[in-house]
C-alpha cells in the first residue's frame, strides 16, 4: 500500500494522477481463515483492523452481502459524542471518541473528524434534570462535558430560536470535543488498512448459514460457497437477528427503520451539532453546505430501509420552530437504515451460546460514534475469547440478570 501524503499528491499532480492505486483488493475467498467477520460496516471493519493491529491476527476475512459501508455506516448523520450516563457506556464511547481524534493519522486516511462541539438541548424541565445528572456523572467519569445556559446556547448557535413557545431552550449539555466525521471515509479508511495487512474483504458475499460441530463454530455457508473459520464475529447491525437464528440462538434485539434527510446546500450558518431529543430531531451542516437532519425511529419491526413519511413531517415541523430559517429550505434527499434496538438501548459485545462465535450489535440509532472503540473491544473479545474491561458489561446475558445499562431513561433516544 502506498502512503497518502503531500508528496504523493505532488508526484501524482506531475503525472496526470495515473499512479493512484486501488484502496483495497477484492480477492476470491480462501477455503478457511483464522477469523471471519460477517458485515463490512464500520464496526466489522474496525474489529478486523484491531484484530490485526493489536493482536497480530491477520488471516481474516470480512464478508459483506452488499457493498462495503452500505449499511447504517453509510446512512447515518455522523454525530460523535461520549457524554452518556452509565459508567460502562461512558468508558467505551469516550475510548471511541478519543480514538477518532487521531484516527486519520493512524489509518493514513482522512476521516474528517471534526470536533466542532455537540449540543444536546434541554427543552423540558425533565431534560434539564436529566442532563444535569449526566453532566455530574461525566465529571466523575472524566468525560469533558458541561451544562450551559440558554444565553450560551444562543451564542454558540445564533440561528437557534431559544424562546419557544412550544419548545423553549432551557439549557444544553455541551461536549466541546464531540462533533462529526465522514461516514464513508471511516469505512474506507479501515478497509484500506485491513487490506494492507493482507486481510480479505469480500463484497457481494452473503452469509446464509452457520455451521458448527459439538457446540463450536466451524464455518459459514455463503453465496460464494462454504468458508471455514476458527472464530466467527457477527457484526451486522439490523440483520443480527437473522445471523443469530442461523447460529441457533435468539437475541434481545428488534429491527426498526430510522430516517435522515438533507437540505439543499447553503452558505455556512451553523458550526456546531445540535440535538433536540424532545422532538426527535438533530442537525448539523455538512462541508458541502447541506443541513443534515436526523429524525425518530418507526414504532414497528421493519427491514425495508424505508421509514414512514409522517416521521419526517413531525421532525421538520418541530425543528422549524427551533430553527425558523429552515422553513425556506428545500429538502433534497431522504433515506432510511435498519437499526438494531435492545431493551436498554445499549449494545451487545458478547460471547454467544455457540462456542467461538461472538456478536457485536445493538448500537441502534447511535453507533457511528462507537466504531473505533467497539472494534477495539470486539477484537480483544475475539482474540482472547473473553471480554476485556470495555466489553464486559455489554454481554447478552445482562437481560436475564437484570443488569441493564439503561441509556433510554434520560433522553428516550441515543444518537
Amino acid at each position: 500500500m502506498k502512503r497518502y501524503s503531500v508528496f504523493a499528491i505532488a508526484r501524482e499532480a506531475l503525472r496526470h494522477h495515473m499512479g493512484w492505486e486501488r484502496a483495497w483488493a477484492s480477492p476470491e475467498p480462501k477455503a478457511s481463515y483464522d477469523a471471519i467477520i460477517v458485515g463490512a460496516g464500520g464496526h466489522g471493519l474496525a474489529t478486523a483492523y484491531y484484530l490485526g493491529k493489536n493482536f497480530g491476527i491477520t488471516n481474516v476475512a470480512i464478508l459483506e452481502k452488499g457493498w462495503l459501508g452500505g449499511g447504517n455506516t453509510g446512512r447515518n448523520t455522523t454525530i460523535i459524542r461520549s457524554n452518556y450516563l452509565q459508567d460502562p457506556s461512558a468508558a467505551i464511547y469516550e475510548k471511541s471518541r478519543s480514538l477518532y481524534e487521531t484516527l486519520s493519522q493512524d489509518l493514513n486516511y482522512n476521516v474528517m473528524f471534526s470536533p466542532r462541539g455537540v449540543m444536546m438541548l434541554a427543552q423540558t424541565h425533565h431534560e434539564v434534570r436529566g442532563y444535569l445528572r449526566t453532566a455530574h456523572a461525566n465529571a466523575l467519569q472524566g468525560v469533558a462535558t458541561e451544562f450551559i445556559t440558554p444565553a450560551r446556547v444562543k451564542e454558540l448557535c445564533p440561528i437557534l430560536n431559544i424562546d419557544g413557545p412550544r419548545y423553549p431552550v432551557l439549557g444544553a449539555l455541551w461536549q466541546a470535543r464531540g462533533g462529526t466525521g465522514r461516514h464513508d471515509a471511516v469505512a474506507w479508511g479501515y478497509a484500506r488498512a485491513c487490506s494492507a495487512m493482507g486481510m480479505h474483504i469480500i463484497q457481494n458475499c452473503e452469509v446464509k448459514g452457520v455451521r458448527s460441530e459439538n457446540g463450536v463454530v466451524t464455518g459459514v455457508d455463503t453465496t460464494k460457497g462454504y468458508i471455514g473459520t476458527k472464530k466467527l464475529g457477527m457484526v451486522v447491525a439490523g440483520h443480527s437477528g437473522q445471523l443469530a437464528e442461523m447460529a441457533g440462538f435468539r437475541l434481545p434485539i428488534e429491527a426498526v427503520a430510522l430516517q435522515a434527510l438533507v437540505s439543499e446546500p447553503i452558505k455556512p450558518c451553523m458550526d456546531v451539532v445540535v440535538m433536540a431529543n424532545t422532538v426527535h430531531g438533530y442537525m448539523s451542516q455538512s462541508d458541502k453546505g447541506e443541513m443534515v437532519i436526523g429524525g425518530g425511529t418507526d414504532g414497528f419491526n421493519n427491514y425495508t430501509q424505508r421509514g414512514s413519511f409522517h416521521h419526517i413531517e413531525e421532525t421538520l415541523r418541530a425543528l422549524v420552530e427551533t430553527f425558523p430559517m429552515l422553513s425556506r429550505l428545500k429538502m433534497l434527499r431522504q433515506w432510511g437504515g435498519i437499526v438494531d434496538m435492545t431493551g436498554d438501548r445499549s449494545p451487545l459485545i458478547s460471547k454467544t451460546p455457540l462456542g467461538n462465535c461472538f456478536i457485536n450489535c445493538g448500537w441502534g440509532t447511535g453507533g457511528f460514534k462507537a466504531i473505533p472503540g467497539s472494534g477495539w473491544a470486539m477484537a480483544e473479545l475475539m482474540a482472547k475469547g473473553e471480554p476485556g474491561p470495555l466489553a464486559e458489561a455489554f454481554n447478552m446475558w445482562r437481560f436475564k440478570e437484570g443488569q441493564f445499562i439503561d441509556e433510554s431513561v434520560a433522553a428516550g433516544v441515543a444518537h
Binding site: G241, L251, E254, D298, F300, N301, H310
Partner: protein, 111 residues
C-alpha cells in the same frame, strides 16, 4: 405509510391514527417464573425478516387493541383480526400461505 383495517370498527386507518404494540401472542410470565422465562417474555422478542404478528391500537379511533399479520421485509399486510385469540386464526394463516407458499405458523419465515 402503513394502512391497517381496524377489525372492530372497519375503518382503514393510516399509522398516524394507530399506536404500535410490537409482538402479538406473547405468553406472559408472572411471579415465580424463572429468569429465562422473564427474559424471553420481556426482551427476546421475535424479530423475523418476513411474516410477523403484531399488536396495534386504534388510538385515535375506537381505542381498541387488535392484531395484524404483516411482512417486515415488504410491508405487505396479510390481514387484521380481533385480539381475543391466543394464536393467529386459520383464515389469516391461509391468506399468508397463499402469498408465501411453504410458510408455517411456528415462527419460521421463508419470505
Amino acid at each position: 405509510m402503513l394502512t391497517l383495517e381496524c377489525p372492530y370498527c372497519g375503518v382503514k386507518a393510516c399509522e398516524t391514527e394507530l399506536s404500535p404494540g410490537y409482538e402479538a401472542h406473547l405468553k406472559r410470565f408472572g411471579p415465580g417464573s424463572t429468569p429465562e422465562e422473564f427474559e424471553a417474555y420481556m426482551f427476546a422478542r421475535k424479530n423475523p425478516k418476513g411474516v410477523h404478528f403484531e399488536r396495534w391500537r386504534h388510538t385515535y379511533g375506537c381505542g381498541k387493541w387488535f392484531l395484524a399479520a404483516r411482512c417486515t421485509a415488504t410491508l405487505e399486510v396479510f390481514g387484521t383480526y380481533p385480539a381475543q385469540v391466543s394464536g393467529p386464526p386459520p383464515e389469516i394463516i391461509a391468506k399468508i400461505q397463499a402469498r408465501r407458499p411453504g410458510w408455517t405458523p411456528d415462527g419460521k419465515a421463508t419470505a
